[in-house]
Subunit: 295 residues, 2 copies
């Protein structure tokens, strides 16, 4: 159904879990014509061609974006500045440049200066994922019923934004438009801090003496195992998220540390009432999560 | 099949999620004869009788344990000392006194002095649960394929320990015997710290201004929602766990805080290599959890 395709030629710079899932969905539902896959290794490109979610592939990013009417950067956020410098001049007039990164102010900071007049920058963040990485781990249903946040800078062409909205709705997502700065604050709380905490606690367990560590694994169903899943996410991606959402993460982490210290003090001094009150009021927000059908 | 029942009369002091699940399983598989339910309110007892997992009920704990050959304390750990004082003299010679609490040194400390000669104290901790509480929330399969840890004090009658082992194996659990102190250290890491962290992070979100809080709920799929589930557990039970496993929890919490501070510093100073190395080594333990079939 390529006559009705949203985009006639799409370039994906990065084909890991998110990029390859997007490609699979576009292919499945005829949302794009030709899809060019770009990756760091020929092996990944070969995988993409073999799995059939891309029509062609190249290691050269300038080559990849040529003639594309949609370019989506799907690599760790730390690579964006270099990518911008590499592809800026080769973007086709009228094209949309987007991405799937988990932070958004840094994306505008790093890609923005390289976007030529007549090319539309529409940053996007599909709030979806699994703990698995790589082109083999993607699937067309990944974005189904999940949120996708678009953060177009003020003055962005409305038609380009609408087109990206159609693309993500076509992927089954609910689309929300917000300011990049606000997005980064919300994600610091809902995603970045939880990941940092999970990475920390699993690291703490890793440092335990060997016998105790085996038992931690054995009895992980008591709560710990949920953290191990979160802390199995892609290390490069998460390094870049923390480095590129530093201020918002440090701010929310400071609040968290103060709260944890208060609970620690209550435990040390046997202040049962304080603990009980705290544990009681956290139930409310769980009800909110259930009511919002996000449980 | 009450002729082959392990116990002819069982008293459950507390019939919440764990107590009522144990009762359901014993009834379903004919592991006990008469089951007496004790609770704080007549309403809970009526629920037990109506749901059919108990044969009789009483608000009087001394009355409940009379003639029982198994007494299982299934209430928050903070109630044990009082319960011990109340029931000690009424325990039948040869009876087994057990419990289902998440800490074990405190159980021996609080119940031990009240156990008359000829009664066998065999503390137990079924490592299972959901975020739901109350007699209605139990189900017979709750303990299936989960661990149950027994922590009999040195010198406990071997036949009594074997009988409790049979009971929990009959509930579908894998049984492990260990020292109470060691149990408490392992659980501080695998269960108590994760719960404390989850309660803290959800509390931090609860303190955010209202608009931001709504968005936190909306985008909770990014990692936060897993914490809200853990932080919805019973507040009284968890207050008592932290108060009664104070030393082990504070020790592991101190390690966690040091590790978190190190990561915080790495984020502040942009030390990407440190973050990456940390995030990489936490993957190992996830593999352990998957290999141990606890994922």
């Amino acid at each position: 159904m390529s006559e009705t395709a949203l985009f006639s030629r799409v370039a994906l710079l990065g084909i890991g879990l998110i990029g390859s899932s997007l490609a699979r969905r576009m292919k499945r539902d005829g949302m794009s014509g030709h899809i060019v896959a770009n990756a760091r290794t020929q092996k990944s490109i070969d995988t993409a061609l073999q799995l059939g979610f891309a029509d062609s592939g190249t290691l050269d990013q300038a080559e990849a974006v040529k003639d594309a009417d949609l370019v989506v950067v799907c690599s760790p956020v730390g690579t964006y500045a270099e990518i911008g410098a590499r592809i800026g001049k080769h973007l086709k007039p009228g094209a949309i440049l987007s991405d799937v990164g988990s932070v958004k102010e840094a994306v505008i900071r790093d890609l923005g200066p390289h976007v030529p007049t007549g090319v539309h920058l529409v940053p996007a963040h599909p709030v979806a994922g699994t703990e698995h990485s790589g082109p083999e781990s993607g699937f067309a249903e990944l974005f189904e019923s999940r949120w996708c946040v678009l953060t177009p800078p003020t003055g962005t062409d409305a038609a380009a934004v609408a087109k990206m909205e159609s693309l993500w709705k076509g992927c089954g997502s609910n689309v929300e438009i917000m300011e990049a700065r606000h997005h980064d604050q919300v994600m610091a709380m809902t995603s970045h801090l939880p990941h940092l905490i999970a990475y920390t606690i699993v690291g703490t367990a890793t440092d335990l003496e060997n016998t105790l560590q085996n038992e931690v694994v054995k009895y992980s169903a008591g709560g710990f195992r949920d953290f191990t899943r979160i802390a199995a996410s892609d290390p490069t991606m998460w390094r870049d998220i923390f480095l590129n959402n530093r201020d918002a993460v440090l701010e929310i982490l400071q609040r968290f540390t103060e709260d944890l210290t208060a609970l620690q003090r209550a435990i040390r001094w046997g202040e049962g009432d304080k603990l009980f009150e705290h544990f009681l009021r956290t139930r409310e927000i769980r009800r909110g999560v259930i009511d919002a059908k996000q449980a």
